[in-house]
Every structure is written in structure tokens, then in C-alpha cells.
């Protein structure tokens, strides 16, 4: 790679070159894996929280075995408009990386026996069933940890494994929409409550476009699992992890809880505004949308000068006025009167021209809102190998997001393979873990156990 590409817009070119040498994408496969010694059983069902958690561990080198019921996990069918590639939807293919795939029917006695045997050899188990389901089948934490005191047992469910709501709603399955709804953030995401020009039907809670409840839940679960693994190296003890994804969103809900504690008041939905920094917002422009900020007094003055609106500067002179939620819709609409006259590139140019003026009053930041196709085309992401493209022998041409841990200098995360068909690794895993050969496998298959 040439120096110009590596150094980009770096303030310190030597540092950029050094960092590149330490984290070169070409070297990733030559380096060791942080979790190569860890075995994970992921028997999550219909949950991308479980799948995301085990993806993180698998990217770091853990040997992850996906345990699916015969016929496959319900998650394989979760796909936009029902688009399937062979036995799997687009979402599942994106989150099956580096995992071995076996089938096993836990509703059958013989299946549960095999499951116990597997778990005796595992370091980590991930499950997403209704609270107490596995316990009721005799393969819960208390049963499995008897044979394997080091087992880290991670249960993920919207309502958690204990507590009042878990008892009340424990018969409900967990879902991303439930995680988002119970995670408080959804109550303050959406079109702005206080904008008088906004039609009423849009004044309602809004989820993140992606499965943010599941992704956050899975990331929290992986965080807990990795800490438990670390603790186990010092104490030899495993433990039970109870991960409720809504708590993973609640825990990062900015200051709404603090503000309620301090004032007894709740905050309304802000839309694209922000009650702590404004303007710091998305605005409509001629060819889409762009981000624009000019929050502090000098930066606000700069923005008003760019728009040639000294009256706005005078009308909202301090952050007190600009952070008043009743003023924000007005400020937003006034800024949009200007931005809708130009394309995002023209706005960027004006902001950059202003930044070069000797008598500039402050700094304005702007940046186009990127569509997925635009993101896929950007050179930076190509050079950083943000996406993995491959021709899978079974699924064909695929593209998925790479591991974001790929720039760890000693133990980079990686994607070795993308997805496996249902039960594709039965032979290898049953043979190597349990010494079950093909003849016995056939018998089990005939009985519907696998």
C-alpha cells in the first residue's frame, strides 16, 4: 500500500505508518488468536443477541459450536422480505462466521444426554430460551455445572432469568423489538415531540433501524463472558451470567435516568436535535441529508455567518436559548431554509471555504448522511478491509461486515468462513467430541435426535 493511502489525513504521518505496520490486514492470518483455547456451545434459538455474542467470540478464535434443532434455527428464516439463499436468510449468513454447525434435538431424552456430554467439555454455553426452560429439562446451570465447575453459562432473554417481570412474562419469547421497547431509548427516539409543524401520527416511539437491542445485548453478553473467562483463569470457577438486553440499552440511555433522579422530570423525544448540544443535527439538503453542527457560541456565530443570518445569531445568542427544546424546531427549520437550497457537497464546500477565512469566528462541521451503497463504495473501508467478500462453495458470492477486532496487533479478529448449512459439521464434531462415528450418527438421525 502506498504511503499516501496509509497516511490519509493524519496529523502525524509517521504514527500512521507505524500503526499500519502493526495492524496490516495482510498479516492478520499469520497472527495468533486470543481465544483459541476456548470452546463455546451456542444453542441460542431465534435470537441474534446470542448469535452476535458467539460471533464476537468466534472472531477472536474461540471454537464455537452452534447447536440447532433438526431443521435449523428459526433465526435462519429471519430475512428481509423472506429472501433466502439455500437454507438461510441474509441475517443468519451475516452472523454465522467461524462457527461449526450441528443439530441436536433437546426435546428428546437422548438429545439431552448428548448435550450434557458436550457441555462437560465446553468452557462457555450461550442460550436464549425462555427463563428456566433448560433447567426444566434437567440441563440448566445447576445440572451442567455439577459436572463442569468451570462452565460459564450465559442465558440471554428480554426479561432476564429472575425478577418480577421475568416471573410475570417468562412465557414470552425474547425479540429485538421487545428489547428496544424495554430499553428506554426507544421512548426518546423518533420525530420531535415539541415540533408544532410535525403531523401527530409521527409523534410516537421509534426503534433503531437495525437490531440494536440484539446487537447491544450480544455485545454485553460477550463482555460478561470474557470477564468470566478472565476470572476463571485466576480462580478456576465458572459462573452463571444473566444477560437481559433491555438493560444493555437502559444502561447507555444518556442522562435520562440521571435527569429524572435530579429533577423528577422526563425528557421529550428530541428527534434529530440534542438537548445538550445544538445545533448538532441532521438537516435536509438538495440531494438528501447532511449533518451540521455549530453548538458553542463561536461555532454558532460561524454557522450564522455562513448562512448569512445575523438575525438568527441575535435571536438565539447563548446556549441557554439554543438548548431550549421549544426553540429548537424553529432553529432547525430556519437552518433548513438555507440547506435545502444546496447539495451536501456544496454545503461542505461553503463550510470549508469559511474555515479558511482569516476572520472566521468558529468551526462548523458537516458531513453527508451515507446510504449503505455509498458506504460500500468508500475507499477508506476498502483499504481497512471493513467488509469481507467471498465465494462460498455452498452459498455463492457473499459480502459481510468483517470483524471490528481485526486491528489488534497481536491477536486480530478475523472471518475464516461465513456460514455453514444446517448440520454440516455433525460428522466432525460428534466424532471428535464424543467419539460418535457415522453408523451411530445414522441411528441418531433416524430417531430424529440429530
Amino acid at each position: 500500500m502506498d504511503d499516501k493511502t496509509i497516511v490519509g489525513m493524519a496529523k502525524d504521518a509517521e504514527f500512521a505508518k507505524w500503526a499500519y505496520r502493526e495492524t496490516r490486514p495482510e498479516d492478520v492470518l499469520k497472527k495468533t488468536e486470543a481465544l483459541a483455547h476456548i470452546r463455546v456451545l451456542d444453542c441460542s434459538y431465534g435470537s441474534f443477541a446470542g448469535l452476535f455474542a458467539s460471533s464476537i467470540l468466534a472472531e477472536m478464535g474461540a471454537e464455537v459450536i452452534r447447536v440447532e434443532p433438526p431443521g435449523g434455527d428459526l433465526a435462519r428464516k429471519m430475512s428481509p422480505y423472506g429472501i433466502m439463499i439455500k437454507d438461510s436468510g441474509l441475517a443468519y449468513i451475516s452472523e454465522a462466521r467461524n462457527k461449526f454447525h450441528i443439530t441436536l434435538d433437546l426435546s428428546k431424552e437422548e438429545g439431552r444426554k448428548l448435550f450434557s456430554k458436550f457441555s462437560a467439555k465446553a468452557d462457555v454455553l450461550i442460550e436464549t430460551f425462555k427463563p428456566g426452560h433448560l433447567d426444566g429439562l434437567g440441563i440448566g446451570y445447576r445440572h451442567l455445572s455439577k459436572k463442569n465447575a468451570g462452565l460459564i453459562f450465559c442465558a440471554i432473554h428480554s426479561y432476564g432469568q429472575h425478577g418480577e417481570d421475568s416471573e410475570k412474562h417468562g412465557n414470552q419469547p425474547g425479540y429485538d423489538i421487545i428489547d428496544q421497547a424495554r430499553g428506554v431509548i426507544m421512548s426518546i427516539t423518533g420525530e420531535p415531540d415539541l415540533d408544532p409543524e410535525l403531523p401527530r401520527e409521527y409523534k410516537r416511539p421509534l426503534k433503531h433501524g437495525s437490531w440494536m437491542g440484539w446487537s447491544a445485548g450480544g455485545a454485553w453478553a460477550a463482555f460478561g463472558i470474557l470477564m468470566a473467562v478472565f476470572d476463571r483463569t485466576r480462580t478456576g470457577k465458572g459462573q452463571f451470567i444473566d444477560c437481559a438486553p433491555p438493560e444493555g440499552l437502559l444502561a447507555i440511555s444518556n442522562y435520562v435516568m440521571q435527569y429524572f433522579h435530579m429533577t423528577g422530570e422526563q425528557m421529550p423525544r428530541a428527534g434529530n436535535y440534542d438537548y445538550a448540544v445544538f445545533p448538532y443535527t441532521y438537516v435536509e439538503c438538495k440531494d438528501g441529508y447532511t449533518f451540521i453542527s455549530g453548538f458553542t457560541d463561536p461555532n454558532w456565530t460561524a454557522l450564522c455567518e455562513i448562512m448569512n443570518r445575523p438575525d438568527l445569531r441575535a435571536q438565539f445568542p447563548t446556549i441557554k436559548e439554543r438548548l431550549d427544546p421549544h426553540n429548537q424546531p424553529t432553529i432547525q427549520h430556519e437552518i433548513e431554509k438555507f440547506t435545502t437550497e444546496y447539495t451536501s457537497d456544496e454545503i461542505l464546500e461553503m463550510v470549508q471555504d469559511y474555515g479558511r477565512k482569516v476572520d472566521k469566528k468558529g468551526t462548523v462541521v458537516t458531513g453527508r448522511l451515507e446510504s449503505p451503497n455509498e458506504v460500500l463504495g468508500r475507499e477508506h473501508w476498502k483499504e481497512r478491509k471493513t467488509f469481507v467478500r467471498c465465494n462460498d462453495p455452498y452459498y455463492g458470492e457473499l459480502l459481510v461486515a468483517n470483524s471490528t477486532f481485526k486491528s489488534m496487533s497481536k491477536t486480530p479478529g478475523r472471518v475464516k468462513w461465513v456460514c455453514r448449512p444446517i448440520g454440516a459439521d455433525n460428522e466432525f464434531i460428534y466424532q471428535s467430541y464424543l467419539g460418535i462415528g457415522n453408523r451411530r450418527l445414522k441411528q441418531l438421525s433416524d430417531k430424529g435426535v440429530i
Partner: protein, 453 residues
């Protein structure tokens, strides 16, 4: 034979929050040096701090920007709520690492530390002679993580990123919002918080590697790429169809039904994709025909079918109260929940029973009620000990306890402005107005007022 404990009793006992302080902390003994500001970097360190790491936070003379970022410009007891949210259980030092004497002190700390985290402009630490190259010379076990919008190298390295920029540059904003309306930003700084979380994940992973090999490492992490990673099927969909993923409000395009529906008294989130679940829902609705017609889940996902099904469900929920739908979900085994707001969470018995919301008595700010980071770990649970602190509040503790500098030496460093405390002219640097000069001070040698003990 004694009767086996119910699952409910078993889990209650395993996770009893009253036993919190009788249990180990998983990151006990891990020292983290935080050279971070705003939300992302401090959040990454905060996650570690609530699970027992000793996090020492360094601030320049002006203080972390979050001392000035707060809703409606509201301050509480001189504290900025914007600063509080990503800073718990930490030790606070006022020291600018660009100062040569400060750099020496910092390197002394690096010798005795495990992790260094920064979210400054890429290369900033290198300019001060504090890059991984230098740090590993004095401590080969050190793990150093740098996080920025676009990472330490590549065409866009050095570009400024904010949370809202990361949400938009990573494609999240473009897919969030109602079908016929514009893109919407998350209600929170989601790209900061979740990138911080993945940073913490990579740090603990590096700690695990180090436990086996004794080897530290450098980690370069990218905020915008983290947003990209969390958009599930967005990329494969674009790749296979050439289309951009569309905004679809609360409707899940990959799960049907999964949406937010109107009830007579509010909103209910509802999902039922599994066969038994959808059958249960149709039964609860009294529309067995709906199940018969759309029993195949992939058929339900076809746009035309999905719209019909969601419309039928919406017509039904309008005739019900939210609680009725929740109760039917409990009975028939589909998923349904109200949308919780801050007030609901604050008063939730469920969350308190679980230790998801904890109360503690802060020596500076009094009783606090806050979320504690998940997940719940039965043997090594996370916990809240104290809140954010005035600028330079723990200077004495850090330099005396860890580096062994006598109190008069620490005083000298303060006089020479190598280290510093809050500026009394700037309220959000300062302790509460009625602070007694002693409460909350760790190792109080040279406070002017007498300790009340």
C-alpha cells in the same frame, strides 16, 4: 430427600444484589489509565471500572468537555449530568501529558499499569512520546487501545468524528426513521456507547491473551466501522440486490409480525415469528384464519403479506389496552411489551431486584439511583461505588498511594502546575457549593478542615 429449589429461588439466590459486596470483582487488580474525553473513551473505561478495574482518568486544565455538555444547560450540585453518565468508580487526576514532568509521572504509572486507553486525535500521544512503541519498552505487558472515528491509518484517518457523524457515516441514520419520512438519529449517543463497549470487549480479550502469554498489544479501533458492524443484514442485502435498505419505522423487515402497534391507551411492541408464537397470537386475536393463511414465516415476510398481517394486528390492538395485550402474550406465548420510559425504569421493582438499578450514597452528592452495566454475573457482579468527581479530585491519592510521593511533593507538583485541581471560577469543575472539604477525599492528608471522624 429435600425438595429441589425452584428455578426462581435458585436464580434469586445466585444473583441476590444484597450480596454484591461479598463477591469478587472480575477485573480486580487491573489498572487502567484513561486519556480520554467526551463520551466514547470514558464509556469504554467506565464499563471496566464498574467490574472492578482501577481506572485513573487524566484531564487537562480546561477539563473534559462533558463538564460543559448537559441537557438544557442544567447543572446539579455543580455537576454536569453529561459528565456523570460515563464516569463511575474512577480516580480523577488533573494533569496534561504534554508537560514533560507530567509525562515522567505518567510513564511511572504505566510501569505499574495494565491498560492505557485514549480517544485523542490519532498520533497525539505519539507526539508526546507516549505511543505504544515507547510504552512497551518500559512495560511489555501493557495493552494500549486507541479509538477514533476512522482509526490510525487509511485515507480518512485524522477526520473528525462525533457520535452523530458516526451514525450517519456508518449507515445507521439512513435506515432509521419512518418509511415516508427522513432519517432519524438515535435518541442517545449510540455510536459512542456501543463502540466503547466493543473497545472494552477487545481489552478484556487482550487481557485473556496476556494471562496466557504475558504479552501486551496495541489495539486500533474504529467508531464508524463499529456502527457498520451492528447493522445486521444491511450489507449482504445491498450486495445481493443492489438496493439500499429502506427505512421502515418500527416494522421489522426480517421478522413478521414484529412492530409497534397502537392500543386504546398507548403503544405495544409485539412480535411472534415462531410457529407456536404466531399460532398463539392468532388464537388470542380470535383469527385462526390468519394463521392458516400465513403459517409459513418466509411467506409472511413478503412485503404485500406483511402489510396485510400488520394491519390486521393493528386493528385488533386498537380495541385493547396495552396491559391486556401483554397478558394475552403471557398466556399465548408470543411477545408483547409496553414502551418503557425513564420514569418506569427508575421505579421498576424488577430492575432493582436484579441490581440493574442500584442505589448508593455518594460522599459528595448524596443518595444516587442509577443503572449499573449488564450483564449480571453470579460470582463477580458489577457495582456502583461512587460518581463523577471534580477536576483533580484524587491527585493526592493517586500520586501518594501508587507512586509513593509524599504529600508535600504532591503539593509542590500542584504549585508548579504540573498537576492541578478544579478552577473555582468554573462551577462544573468544582465540588458542590456546600462541600465540607473532606467528604469523598481518598487518603485525606492535607485537607484544611478537620475530618468529622
Amino acid at each position: 430427600m429435600p425438595k429441589a429449589k425452584s428455578y426462581r429461588d435458585l436464580t434469586k439466590e445466585l444473583f441476590d444484589p444484597r450480596q454484591l459486596f461479598e463477591k469478587r470483582e472480575p477485573l480486580q487488580g487491573i489498572r487502567v489509565l484513561e486519556v480520554c474525553y467526551v463520551v466514547l473513551g470514558p464509556a469504554a473505561c467506565d464499563y471496566l471500572a464498574e467490574f472492578g478495574a482501577e481506572v485513573i482518568k487524566f484531564e487537562g486544565q480546561r477539563g473534559d468537555q462533558m463538564r460543559f455538555v448537559t441537557p438544557y444547560a442544567y447543572f446539579w450540585k455543580n455537576m454536569s449530568p453529561g459528565l456523570e453518565i460515563e464516569n463511575h468508580n474512577k480516580y480523577w487526576v488533573g494533569m496534561h501529558l504534554g508537560n514533560p514532568r507530567a509525562k515522567e509521572l505518567f510513564l511511572d504509572l504505566v510501569k505499574r499499569s495494565d491498560v492505557v486507553v485514549d480517544n485523542l486525535t490519532p498520533g497525539k500521544l505519539a507526539q508526546w512520546g507516549l505511543s505504544y512503541r515507547e510504552l512497551r519498552e518500559i512495560n511489555p505487558r501493557i495493552i494500549q487501545l486507541h479509538v477514533s472515528g476512522y482509526g490510525s491509518w487509511g485515507p480518512w484517518t485524522g477526520r473528525t468524528s462525533y457520535d452523530a457523524v458516526a451514525q450517519s457515516m456508518g449507515g445507521l441514520s439512513s435506515i432509521t426513521g419512518f418509511e415516508e419520512r427522513g432519517p432519524i438519529k438515535s435518541g442517545v449517543w449510540i455510536a459512542d456507547w456501543l463502540t466503547g463497549l466493543m473497545c472494552a470487549v477487545s481489552i478484556v480479550s487482550a487481557l485473556n491473551h496476556r494471562a496466557k502469554t504475558g504479552e501486551g498489544q496495541f489495539i486500533d479501533y474504529m467508531q464508524v466501522e463499529n456502527v457498520i458492524r451492528m447493522l445486521d443484514w444491511t450489507w449482504l442485502y445491498s450486495f445481493k440486490t443492489g438496493e439500499n435498505r429502506k427505512r421502515s419505522g418500527n416494522r421489522d423487515l426480517a421478522i413478521c409480525p414484529s412492530d409497534l402497534f397502537p392500543c386504546s391507551d398507548g403503544w405495544v411492541a409485539l412480535a411472534a415469528f415462531g410457529d407456536e408464537e404466531f399460532k398463539g397470537l392468532c388464537k388470542a386475536m380470535g383469527h385462526a384464519d390468519l394463521y392458516k393463511k400465513y403459517s409459513d414465516p418466509t411467506q409472511r415476510l413478503k412485503d404485500e403479506n406483511a402489510r396485510k398481517i400488520l394491519d390486521r394486528i393493528g386493528q385488533w390492538t386498537r380495541t385493547k389496552r396495552v396491559q391486556q395485550v401483554e397478558e394475552l402474550a403471557d398466556k399465548y406465548g408470543f411477545a408483547a411489551s409496553r414502551v418503557l420510559c425513564a420514569k418506569d425504569a427508575y421505579h421498576s421493582r424488577h430492575l432493582r431486584e436484579r441490581g440493574a438499578i442500584q442505589e448508593y450514597d455518594d460522599p459528595l452528592y448524596g443518595p444516587m439511583v442509577q443503572q449499573c452495566y449488564p450483564p449480571r454475573l453470579s460470582e463477580t457482579p458489577g457495582r456502583l461505588k461512587w460518581s463523577s468527581r471534580p477536576l483533580g479530585f484524587d491527585n493526592g491519592y493517586v500520586f501518594t498511594k501508587i507512586l509513593g510521593l509524599p504529600p508535600e511533593e504532591v503539593k509542590k507538583l500542584e504549585d508548579e502546575k504540573v498537576i492541578f485541581k478544579w478552577n473555582p471560577q468554573i462551577p462544573s469543575h468544582c465540588p458542590p457549593a456546600d462541600w465540607d472539604g473532606v467528604s469523598g477525599v481518598k487518603l485525606p492528608f492535607f485537607s484544611e478542615k478537620k475530618h468529622n471522624g
